[in-house]
Each structure stands twice: as structure tokens, then as C-alpha cells.
Amino acid sequence: MAEGGSGVIDALAFLGDFGDAIEFIFKERESTSKGVMVGGLSELGGFALTHMLVSLVAMAVAIAIAVPTGLALGHKGKGEFLAISISNVGRAVPAVILLFFFVAFIGNGFRNVAFVLILLAIPPILTNAYVGARQVDREVVDAARGMGMNGMQIVRGVRLPLAMPTIFAGIRTSTVSVLATATIGPFANLQTLGEPILSDAIYGFSGQLGGAIVVAVITLTADAGIGLAQRAVTPMGIKLAEEPQAKRRWMSLPTRRREAAT
């Protein structure tokens, strides 16, 4: 997508609504309702910062909770029901509805949005950490035990590295849905990038479209970036072993990975 500076803005006219929206991203303008200036990089930058901050906090907390829990459950071989069904429950109560419940019954603000996002982010990571730790070959674990490793060492030195690709697939899924859901932050008075999208009375249609473009670009970038990181953290051995079925990577999006759970 063409993202020009102020010099090429005239050239954006032929793009119609989209050109107008891109101009909104880079240049301030008067709001549709009152005489305030809206749009431009500085305002959208602020929204983007809040957006990414709340997403980052949520992801950090979710990873800190879900990865150790998933690995521990996978190592012990307990709680399969919990690890697998938690993602089903997550889908039945969508994040949007959860956020509305929070706004009505608990309150607004950064902390509540972050909390909803944490609840949204945990299930895919937990399920994938569980499945990742579980699918490690029995012989590999036995070999590690034979070398004198204790439970903790096996989890950290054997199961974690071998589960890395799976865990990262979960993190990727969560990050995408967290970044997408942070867009509805303004419902809870948190001015994320959803602000220009949801307050059309102030920002107008080009503000909505401009905000939507920025959110889409950020999400797609994050998705691609984590995809690369996933590649980077995959142990060499797995990469070599999986080379023939490398095209299966696209299956590592959300949902049930039952085939890996055995």
C-alpha cells in the first residue's frame, strides 16, 4: 500500500476514500464536529502507542502465566481436559462481549482492557504449550532422565526447546487477536487506535478508514514478525526433521490441534 509523505498527498487523490484516509494518517486536519485538529502522525502515534502498550502488557502477562502452566501440565501429563477445553470456552465467550460485561459491571480503563486481553490471550498459548510439551517423544524424555536430569531440568532443557515452535504458534495467534481486540478499547474509554475508528462524529470517514488501515498494517506486521521469530527459535534438529512438511506451517493457526495431542 502506498504510504507517502506530505509531498505525494496530491497524488493520493485518485485513490478516492483510501487516499483521503492515508492523508489523514500523515497530516492534521480540522475535525468534522468542532474546531479541533485531528489526525496526523502525532495523534495517531499516541493512539498506536497506547494500542501497542496495552497489547504488550497483556501478552507479557499471558505468556508468563500460560507457558509455565502449559509446560507443567504437559510434563505431568495431567489436565488435558483443562488445557484443551479452555480454548473452547474462550471461543464461546467472545472478547467483545467480555469487554462489554467488564465496562458495565466492573469499570473502564487501561487495567480492565488489559485484563480482558489477558483472558483472550491465555487459551491459545496454554493449549499450544501443553500440546508442545506433550508431543515430545517418550524416548527423548527417557534419555534425558537417564542422563540424570530432574523434572525441572527436563522441562526447561528438553520440553521447552522442542515445544518452542508450537508455543510460538500460540503466541502468534494470541498476538493477532489481542492487537485486533485492542481496537475496541474506546468502548472502555481507552484511546487505542480504535478511537478514530469508533468516534466517527469527530474523525469523519477518512479517520475511520485511516485508523483501520493503521490497525491492519500493525497486525499484519506483527503476524509476519512473530512468524520470523518462530522460525528463529525452532531448534535446528526440528527444522531438519520437518523440512519435507514445511508447508504444514499454515496449520498452526488457532483452534484444535488434536492431531498433535496424542
Partner: protein
């Protein structure tokens, strides 16, 4: 209520923007009022049916498209990568953004909402159909070929029936996901329960009813597909036994 949770830089606006009926004390305090719900449940009927349409139509269209694509890609394997990549990219675009990105093309209204929601179902269904077809045991296919089945007969009589549980699992995921996403379809002018939620978002009774109906819808549709799946696998188990 909101201020009770300590420092919240963006939580200045109290529930002043409530503009619905102001009747009894409970309603005035925007609490959870069973009486109000009993009196006003009928106003949720229309949004509820809109929500049903916003779920069923995209899932049906999405299933038709993704299923066809998967059958084509099953024959021409090289198509799997590109189709999965494209539907994956669609899946990654945030729904709120998608509802607006489509508006220059399709305008404001239910069509936009349905197009966007359809796009989200594609990856899920496509991926599950392909996974299901891939999981069909080679021996079953060999046996069928040995019995003289053509490729077409093999697909419809052996592969698809065996892949059905996986296909229906995809349909379930797509359906529950769509119920949630449809709660934002009002942003594209599609109506649904999300519009009710947003209209009086501080009124606890309203949020409880509208949100509860969303969850109920997701659960009911899920159970319906699950029941259908049971019915089908029962037939399968009988055949296997």
C-alpha cells in the same frame, strides 16, 4: 462504580450518556433489574434475529466457498499454500478495521458486514477440510480403488465421509467465532446484538441480556452442529464395527 478501581486515566466519563427509559430506581442506577428485563425483552428480539442472520449467512457462504476451494486444492496440491496464505491474511485483518476497509467498496449496511464475516470463516473451514482429507488412511483409499471406484466416487463415498468429523469441527469453530465477530457488525451498519450493547453500555441489565443472548446463540448453534456430528459419526461407527 468505575472510580472504585483506583487510578484509571481514561475513565473520566461516568454513566451520564445513558439515554434510554428512566423508570424505577434500579433502572436509574443502571443496575441489573430482572423486572426491567421481563418488561423489555421484546426489544431484543429483532437484534437477536439480525444476529442469527449475521452468523448463519456468512457461515453458509463461507462454507460453500471454502469447501469448494478445499476440494479443488485437494486435487491440485500446489493450490493449498496460496489459498491458505490468502485466507490467512484475510483472517489476520482485525474485524473492526475490516468493517471500515470494505465500506468504500460495498457501502454501509448488512452486505458489508456479511462480506467481512464470510472472509473470517474461510481459513478455518478450508484448513479443517484439508486436514480431514489428509488424515484419511491410505489403506482405505487403496481398498476403494481396488473395488473400482473412480476418483470422484472415492472423494464423495470414502474420503469426505471419513473427513466429516474434522470438517464439522471446522464448521463449529467458524460458527462460534462468527457469533462473536457479529457483535461488532453494527459498526458496518449490520445491526445485531452489538448495537444494543453499544447503545447503553453502562446499563447492566442491557449488557447482561444482549451479551447473554450472544453467548446463548453461540452455545445453541454449537450444540446443533455437535448433535449433527454425533448423528453422522454414529453412522460411521456402525460401518466401522
Amino acid at each position: 462504580m468505575a472510580s472504585a478501581l483506583g487510578a484509571q486515566p481514561f475513565a473520566q466519563d461516568a454513566p451520564e450518556d445513558f439515554f434510554g427509559k428512566r423508570a424505577t430506581g434500579c433502572v436509574q442506577e443502571e443496575g441489573f433489574c430482572p423486572d426491567w428485563i421481563a418488561d423489555n425483552y421484546d426489544r431484543y428480539l429483532d437484534p437477536f434475529f439480525q444476529h442469527v442472520i449475521l452468523t448463519v449467512v456468512p457461515v453458509a457462504i463461507g462454507f460453500a466457498i471454502a469447501f469448494t476451494l478445499a476440494l479443488i486444492a485437494h486435487r491440485r496440491r500446489w493450490l493449498i499454500g496460496p489459498v491458505a496464505g490468502f485466507t490467512g491474511a484475510l483472517y489476520t485483518i482485525p474485524s473492526v478495521a475490516f468493517f471500515f476497509l470494505l465500506q468504500p467498496l460495498t457501502g454501509l449496511g448488512r452486505t458489508t458486514a456479511i462480506v467481512a464475516l464470510t472472509c473470517y470463516t474461510l481459513l478455518i473451514i478450508f484448513r479443517n477440510v484439508i486436514t480431514g482429507l489428509n488424515a484419511v488412511p491410505e489403506e482405505a483409499k487403496d481398498a476403494a480403488r481396488g473395488m473400482g471406484l473412480t476418483d470422484r466416487q472415492l472423494l464423495w463415498r470414502v474420503e469426505l465421509p471419513l473427513a466429516l468429523p474434522e470438517v464439522l469441527a471446522g464448521l463449529r469453530i467458524a460458527t462460534t467465532t462468527t457469533v462473536g465477530l457479529a457483535a461488532l457488525a453494527f459498526l458496518a451498519g449490520g445491526g445485531g446484538l452489538g448495537a444494543e450493547l453499544d447503545a447503553q453500555k453502562y446499563f447492566k441489565s442491557n449488557v447482561a441480556v444482549a451479551g447473554g443472548l450472544c453467548i446463548l446463540l453461540a452455545a445453541v448453534l454449537d450444540v446443533i452442529i455437535l448433535a449433527f456430528q454425533r448423528l453422522v459419526t454414529q453412522w460411521q461407527r456402525a460401518a466401522a464395527a
